[in-house]
Structures are given as structure tokens and as C-alpha cells.
Symmetry: C2
């Protein structure tokens, strides 16, 4: 992701398929506008130029026609280029964050919760960025709790096996085991903060839910 | 999210801030195009109409001017409306999924991994949708493993406390405790599949990390 910060032109097309689709879609509208406008504008001029019975009018109209075409073409081309550049920049502000989000979500799926998402200046999707970082914080909080409880459990189990000689009555054994059980239950309770799909439901197609 | 499926007009503006921002941005370009085109087109006509010394040319040019304005305005208005509708639909295909993603990510952050994301027909962001569902599957797989191991640990601890009388030699206690320790270690090993941020790093500002 670091190379994105350089913002060379290539880096503006970070998600070619979606960006080009939107740019092409919008450019088609642009071209439709240009064609409609050009036809509406030029049709009466051409009619006048070709069919007028007054030579002077024909001449003047032809001059207007030439002026129009000479002025219009460069103006339209400049505006179309601006329009395309504008759309690439706007889609980049959406697609750049999306690439970053995807990479992070992939890492999270692998259990790596150390990678937050971030936005560059001008990026959209601030809300989604916060949402993902909030999710990572939420998962981390639960897992940190489980981890702490599990460490206590393990270290108490270690302590117990080192002092097996002191467990010389069933009562002492019971007390120690109950303490361990209590700690194991705390781990289970924290684990229960996660709601997992039942294996049976997993087989069902996703569109049947929600 | 269910109401989205009805697709009434209101449902096309699911994420007003972002959508209106994009639509307004693009409409500004549209209006720029229209103004530039109109100025370029009408300027020579107006010059001709006002300053021509030939009355006939003045009359004809005025007629062309009127025709242009009468034809141009409705055409431009229709195209602008089409353009805005088009942009609302395109942004809807991005923002609709984003809303769905946000809701799911929020649930995941709360530990609820039962809610997959889905796309409606025509929606963009298929890749991101798959990524989020993949992440949920990945997290679920690790957590299911931990959960299973933890259940075994708890049930073995229960079994042990019920049969404390059988633990009548240090060797038997050692064997039982080692079995429990082995199970607790399996839970720890699965937990270690998660990489969590150290508390110390958490204090650092996020922009220092990648």
C-alpha cells in the first residue's frame, strides 16, 4: 500500500475493473449529451445553410457553422478529458480505501488483528474505515480477555503440577481442581461472547438467511 | 436491510452523504459542460444577431437563436435528469453493499459471526463481499476449533472432580493433571493463531503503523 502514497497516475487506477466500468458508464452519458447537443445545435444551421434561398444568409450561416465546429470541438474534448480525470479521481477515493480494507479483512480472517485500516487525505469511506477499525478493536478486546484468562489457567496448572506433593487429601485436590475449573469457565464465558454458526446452518445457502 | 429489496426511490439514496457528494460533483461537471457548450454555441449567433449590418441575416440568425434555445433547453434538462438518475443508481450499487458490510462488520466486532454479507442483483463490490465472508469463515474456523478444545477441557475437568476418590497417588494426580494441561495447551495453541496487538503498541498513534 505504501506505493499508493506516491500517487502516480497508475496508482489512480487501483481497481481497474470497477473504476473503468464507472468511468465508461459515465462517459457514455457524456457522449450522449454531446451528440444530442451537437445535433440540436447544428441541425437548424445545416438546414439554413443548405436550403436557404438567400445567398447572404447561406454565407453567414456557413461562417457561423464553421466557427461553431472550430470552437466547439476543442472545448468538448477538453471538458470530456476533465470529466474522465474527475471520475478517475472520485472512483480512486473509493477504490483506494476498498483495496486497503480488503487486505486488512484478509489478514483478520487469518487471525492477524494487528493491521488497522487508514485513509489518505481526500479519501471517501471514512465511516467504513472507522467501522473496520472498531471491529478489530472489538475482536481484540474479547480475544485479549480470553488470552489473559487462558494464561492464568495455564500458569495455575503449571503451579499445581509442581506442587503435587501438597495435594495429599481429596479435599485439597477438590479445592485445587475447582479453582482450575473456575478459571476454565471464565475462558469459556469469554468464548461465549462469540456467536458462531452451527455446523448444520453452515450447509444452508446464504440467501436463505437474513 | 430487508426494505432495500423493495427498491423504492428512497431506497436508492441509502448513503446520502457520499451519494449526494458524488452526484453533486459530477453534476457540476455536467453544468460546466452545458455552460461552456452554450456559450461557445450562442456567442457567435448573438454577435451576428446584434451586430450584423444585413437585416435579413439578423432576422435569420434570431430565428436560429430561438430554435436553438427552444430545442436545447428541454434536451439539456432531460439529459441532466438522466445523468443524475444514472449516478444515483451507480452510487447505489456501491453504497448499498457498503451499508450491508458496515452492519455485518459491526456485528463481527461484537463477536457475532453468524451474519454473512450478500449482494443484490446489479450490485458492485463482489470482491469485497467475498473478502468479508471469507474473513468471517476464517475467524469462525479458528474460534470453532478453540471452542471444541475448550469444551473437551471443561468436560474432562468435570469428570475429574467427580472421581476425585480415584486420585489416590501423586502419580495418578500427575497423569490426570498432565492430561488437563495438554488440553489447555491445545486451546492456547489455537488462541495463538490470533495475532493481537501488544498493549504497549496500542498507545501509539495509528498513523505510525502501516
Amino acid at each position: 500500500m505504501k506505493s499508493d502514497d506516491k500517487r502516480s497516475f497508475k496508482n489512480y487506477l487501483v481497481k481497474k475493473d470497477l473504476q473503468l466500468r464507472i468511468v465508461l458508464n459515465s462517459s457514455l452519458y457524456m457522449i450522449l449529451i454531446v451528440i444530442v447537443t451537437a445535433m440540436v445545435v447544428l441541425f437548424p444551421l445545416i438546414t439554413e445553410m443548405v436550403f436557404s434561398e438567400n445567398m447572404e444568409v447561406q454565407y453567414q450561416t456557413a461562417q457561423i457553422f464553421l466557427t461553431l465546429v472550430t470552437w466547439l470541438l476543442p472545448a468538448v474534448i477538453v471538458v470530456i478529458l476533465l470529466f474522465i480525470a474527475h471520475h478517475i479521481i472520485v472512483t480512486h477515493r473509493i477504490c483506494g480505501p476498498l483495496i486497503n480494507f480488503s487486505n486488512t479483512l484478509k489478514k483478520v480472517g487469518e487471525g492477524d488483528l494487528t493491521r488497522k485500516v487508514y485513509l489518505r487525505q481526500g479519501d471517501y469511506l471514512k465511516h467504513e474505515c472507522d467501522e473496520i477499525n472498531g471491529m478489530i478493536d472489538g475482536l481484540s478486546a474479547i480475544l485479549n480477555q480470553i488470552s489473559e484468562d487462558q494464561k492464568t489457567l495455564i500458569s495455575d496448572l503449571e503451579g499445581l503440577t509442581e506442587n503435587i506433593e501438597s495435594l495429599d487429601t481429596p479435599d485439597k485436590i477438590r479445592t485445587s481442581l475447582n479453582a482450575i475449573k473456575g478459571e476454565a469457565r471464565r475462558v469459556s464465558d469469554s468464548l461465549a461472547l462469540f456467536t458462531l454458526e452451527e455446523e448444520a446452518q453452515k450447509a444452508a445457502p446464504p440467501q436463505d438467511r437474513e
